[in-house]
């Protein structure tokens, strides 16, 4: 966690609350540690509202608790005065809240329009929701990838989003609020990361059986790394693997076991048209897979390939009844897809 930011003045009371509540450290989905201008704008607005709410909270609860102790029935207490109301008081507690809310409304409306505006010089990326993973396309570079969104740091990014099936909701808490992905409509969301870092993403809207495992990662890279990444992504996979290696065997499994029905590997099996599953051309470059529900390692891949529905109930990836040897070969092959 970013220490400098954590000890900011406005976090002080929260800090004491954290102390009381044995704080959640390193929560990767923390919406209160913004890492970019959009999230920060929202964060500022939240704290403004929060402190006003805290003020009202103490006034009301204070009056309530005071009344309970001070006005409770005790022996010898006289009957109370029969007060039916007080127009001045009642007007006051109508007008004062209106003024407070108006004070909140002004920055709220301004921020709404600020966040919706398309930033100048933004990189355009398309986000497509599937049950249960996010697909990313970079129209400027002709790149298609999944699960891990790679963006340049300190540069605004404009996401153009839609869904391929049901409603989804794209959320990178440290970079911005949520926005739905709707079938047949386009929605937009801006992201902007201050510095190179890795962020967690998650589908917010309930989207069926494996909604909770529809996750994602956002990787922000400095300009040079990002350009290298783009150039690498443009490359096709190598079809000609040295014969007799495990990876070459794995490639045969990929081509013959049924994987090609849904998965594209550019340069190896790149039919035209959309496929319903993630593009695997640079699979080994992604640190997570299966809707970012699993870390990309041998153990997880073995589990996943043995029976995907075990991990993600309802998944569209069938159990291909692969043998242990085939799985091992496939994993070796996937490891070469850098």
């Amino acid at each position: 966690m970013n220490k400098k930011r954590f000890f900011k003045y406005k976090n002080l009371p929260v800090f004491s609350l954290l102390f009381l509540t044995a704080c959640i450290e390193n929560a990767p989905m923390d919406s209160l540690s913004p890492a970019g201008p959009y999230a920060r704008q929202i964060d500022d607005l939240f704290w403004l509202t929060f402190w006003i709410a805290v003020g009202v909270f103490f006034i009301v609860q204070g009056a309530l608790i005071f009344s309970v102790f001070y006005f409770r029935d005790m022996p010898g207490k006289p009957e109370p005065k029969q007060i039916h109301g007080n127009n001045v008081l009642e007007l006051m507690w109508t007008i004062i809240p209106i003024l407070i809310l108006a004070a909140i409304a002004v920055p709220t409306v301004r921020t709404i329009f600020d966040l919706a505006r398309e930033p100048e010089g933004a990189l355009k990326i398309e986000v497509i929701g599937h049950q249960w993973w996010f697909e990313y396309k970079y129209p400027d570079y002709g790149i298609t990838t999944a699960n891990v969104l790679v963006i340049p740091a300190d540069t605004p990014v404009r996401l153009e989003m839609w869904s391929n099936d049901v409603l989804h909701n794209y959320w990178v808490p440290k970079l911005n609020g949520k926005r739905y992905l709707v079938p047949g409509q386009k929605t937009y969301l801006n992201l902007h990361a201050d510095s190179p870092d890795e962020f967690w993403a998650q589908c917010g809207e309930y989207c069926g059986l494996s909604h909770s495992k529809m996750r994602g990662r956002v990787l922000s890279l400095n300009q040079e790394d990002f350009e290298n990444w783009v150039n690498n992504q443009k490359l096709n996979a190598n079809k000609e693997l040295p014969e007799g290696t495990l990876a070459a065997e794995g490639q045969q499994v990929y081509l013959n076991a049924g994987c090609t029905q849904c998965h594209v590997i550019d340069g190896v099996w790149d039919v035209q048209g959309d496929r319903i599953a993630p593009n695997l051309t640079h699979f080994a470059n992604r640190n997570v897979f299966a809707g970012a529900a699993l870390k990309n390692n041998k153990e997880n891949l073995t589990k996943w390939l043995a029976n995907p529905a075990e991990i993600k109930p309802g998944t569209f990836m069938p159990n291909l009844e692969l043998t242990e040897k085939e799985i091992e070969a496939l994993i070796a092959y996937l490891g070469t897809l850098k």
Binding site: A63, K81, Q82, L101, T108, Y180, P318
Partner: protein
């Protein structure tokens, strides 16, 4: 009484039922009190089921990456928890209060249409049973083309599209099987029930008030019932239409919400929340009413700013129709719509604030008698304020785009609907317990119930604010260990079991006190409204003679005067008045005409589930059974004679 109509011999087969005891007396009753009690027990039963579903959810979430439930089971459980609590627990418990109290508070013998009242109860019962029969007959599974590693099991075969049923996920393609049909048609049937009672209550309040009971002398609970009836009448048709669309999409191939057929999934969101937001006020306004009765009684002061509280209630009800899209700030709506609905949401906080400050004004300077109903009413204020304030943070649209679909929202609406509505309901259950059963509840157990519930409640829902802000999304079957949310989820789960414990204490108190409690005087709280002028338990005929109301809080003013300082002074005549009321209440002078029981509300409503099954299974025979039952019910209803016609014939 003695009007003589020659009874048509042919109608003798439709002779009215006359059981006064046993199961038939309950099935055929049209007495608003009996119907109210049945509503209460049935709704409490569903509350327990909904609570069990919540406990199961909390066991699953107590640890990260837990495997106690499968995804299918978890999704079904949260769908049924929400649906049950809204439609089968809180709404009908409120209906129990409306039924029992409304006629008593306005000095009436019964509601305007007693048989219609029975009808709405039985439709609700059959709707609830129909919905829950999904556990026996329903089927659910993976979306078309998806795979499951294991059978979904009987729990997983319940509806699983969420209580909000977002399309197209809850459509036939992504939720195959019949479970979501049970959900859609079940809610449709329950909606009929609410519509029927809405009109019944509106007519009752407008027409059945006793002499002198002007509108601005009505108790606030009656006012809130009135507001809720209007909310029901205007909001339920919207969900009825939307549910018809869903059923047509699922059963008959229409494409109202399917993009590939030119439909729009966002349309469902608009329709659902255009109903769903007024629904929130349908759930909370009755509690506002209950608390507005209890605070003055136990503070021994009149309600502070009665007209303001009444108008604020109606203000909330009215503006409540203009804020629905704040459930959709992250959805496909424009910035202009976001700004508009953000501001309207802020506006609705104003009348809500007025109510809270007026309640504080009521207890301020009073002489607070901290009995269980008062504790719950004060707890209501404290908890509801927290829910209201977190609500204001949602109206700040950009902040809401971080909060929506997270546990922060779950925390918010449980503070409103549990800390608000349920605390209000418990306050009311204790407050009117003596009037209903003629016994006093056990005060010690009541206080223990309050404190365990208050602690359990805050332990459960307080940390959820934090969990949501730390990124725990709603409706999540599992959460990753790396999110570091495990500790607080465990605390939340422990809190849920403390709530369960408090409910057990409540039930023990209820069952014990109902049988063995001390005998209740008819005015145990030195109360203010006219339902306390009659004996406890309420006699079948309610009032021996129609009361004549001269003021707001009429009963209080009959007992108390004010001295020069404005302090309450008990009138010398008060004791004599109470003795006289008790004597009169038990011994009516004139013969009292009561509405006759009837079989037909039960018969008519029993046809509706058959129609539901007929739609799901495309079965003509089932449809015929349903239609026949409804026709027999309606025809019998229309032609059954009044019992006293026979009586007068016999008398002659």
């Amino acid at each position: 009484m003695t009007k003589i109509i020659e009874p048509d011999k042919q109608t003798n087969i439709f002779r009215r039922p006359s059981s006064e005891y046993g199961i038939w007396s309950w099935i055929t009753t049209v007495d608003h009190k009996k119907i109210g009690i049945m509503y209460g027990y049935a709704a409490f039963f569903f509350l327990l089921i909904g609570g069990l579903e919540a406990l199961v959810l909390r066991i699953q979430l107590a640890q990260p990456d837990n495997n106690f439930l499968s995804a299918a089971e978890y999704n079904a459980m949260f769908t049924m928890h929400g649906t049950t609590m809204v439609f089968l627990a809180i709404m009908p418990i409120s209906a129990a209060f409306f039924n029992y109290l409304l006629p008593l508070q306005i000095g009436a013998r019964d509601v305007a249409f007693p048989r219609l009242n029975a009808l709405s109860f039985w439709i609700w019962v059959f709707g609830g049973l129909f919905l829950y029969s999904t556990f026996v007959f329903g089927t659910a599974g993976a979306p078309e083309g998806g795979y499951l590693a294991e059978e979904v099991g009987w729990l997983g075969n319940a509806p699983n599209g969420g209580w909000f049923g977002y399309q197209p996920n809850a459509g036939f393609k992504y939720s195959p099987g019949t479970a979501m049909d049970y959900w859609a048609i079940g809610l449709q049937i329950l909606g009929i029930s609410s519509l029927v009672s809405a009109f019944n209550f509106i007519v009752t309040i407008l027409n059945m008030r006793t002499q002198g009971m002007r509108l601005m002398r009505m108790p606030v609970f009656t006012w809130m019932t009135f507001a809720v009836a209007f909310l029901l009448a205007f909001s339920l048709p919207i969900i009825a239409i939307a549910l018809f669309y869903v059923t047509f999409d699922r059963q008959f191939g229409t494409t109202f919400f399917l993009t590939e057929g030119g439909g729009d999934p966002v349309l469902w969101q608009h329709l659902f929340w255009l109903f769903g937001h007024p629904e929130v006020y349908i759930l909370i306004l009755p509690a506002f009413g209950i608390v507005s009765e209890i605070l003055p009684t136990f503070s021994r002061k009149p309600l502070f700013g009665y007209p303001a509280i009444v108008f604020a209630g109606f203000g909330i009800a009215f503006i409540g129709f203009g804020v629905w899209a704040h459930h959709m700030f992250a959805s496909a709506i424009s910035p202009v719509a976001q700004a508009g609905f953000g501001i309207s949401t802020m506006i609705i906080a104003v009348p809500t604030g007025v109510k809270i400050f007026n309640w504080l004004g009521t207890i301020w300077g009073g002489k607070l008698n901290l009995k269980t109903p008062m504790l719950f009413a004060l707890g209501f204020i404290g908890m509801f304020v927290i829910g209201g304030l977190s609500g204001v943070t949602h109206s700040v649209v950009p902040a809401d785009t971080q909060q929506t679909d997270t546990y922060y929202i779950v925390a918010h609406f449980h503070y409103v609907l549990f800390g608000g509505a349920m605390f209000g309901i418990f306050a009311g259950l204790y407050y009117w317990f003596p009037k209903v059963w003629g016994k006093m509840y056990n005060e010690t157990l009541g206080q223990i119930h309050f404190w365990t519930m208050l602690i359990g409640f805050n332990l459960t829902f307080g940390p959820m604010h934090w969990l949501g802000l730390q990124g725990q999304v709603r409706r999540t079957w599992v959460y990753a260990e790396e999110t570091n949310l495990g500790f607080w989820n465990l605390i939340v789960s422990i809190g849920a079991f403390i709530i369960a414990l408090s409910i057990l204490i409540f039930m023990a108190n209820w069952m014990y006190s109902k049988r063995k409690g001390e005998k209740a005087p008819f005015d145990p709280w030195d109360a203010r409204t006219i339902e306390w002028t009659i004996p406890s338990p309420t006699p079948v005929w309610n009032f021996s003679k129609a009361p004549h109301v001269k003021a707001l809080d009429d009963f209080w003013h009959a007992k108390y005067d004010e001295d020069e300082e404005g302090r309450a002074v008990r009138r010398d005549s008060a004791d004599a008045l109470l003795a006289q009321l008790e004597e009169e209440g038990l011994n009516p002078e004139e013969e009292i005409e009561l509405p006759n029981p009837s079989y037909y509300p039960f018969v008519l409503s029993s046809g509706l589930p058959f129609l539901g099954y007929a739609v799901i299974y495309k079965s003509i025979p089932l449809a015929l059974i349903g239609v026949v039952l409804i026709l027999v019910g309606s025809f019998g209803w229309a032609t059954e004679p009044l019992e006293e016609e026979f009586r007068s014939e016999e008398e002659e």
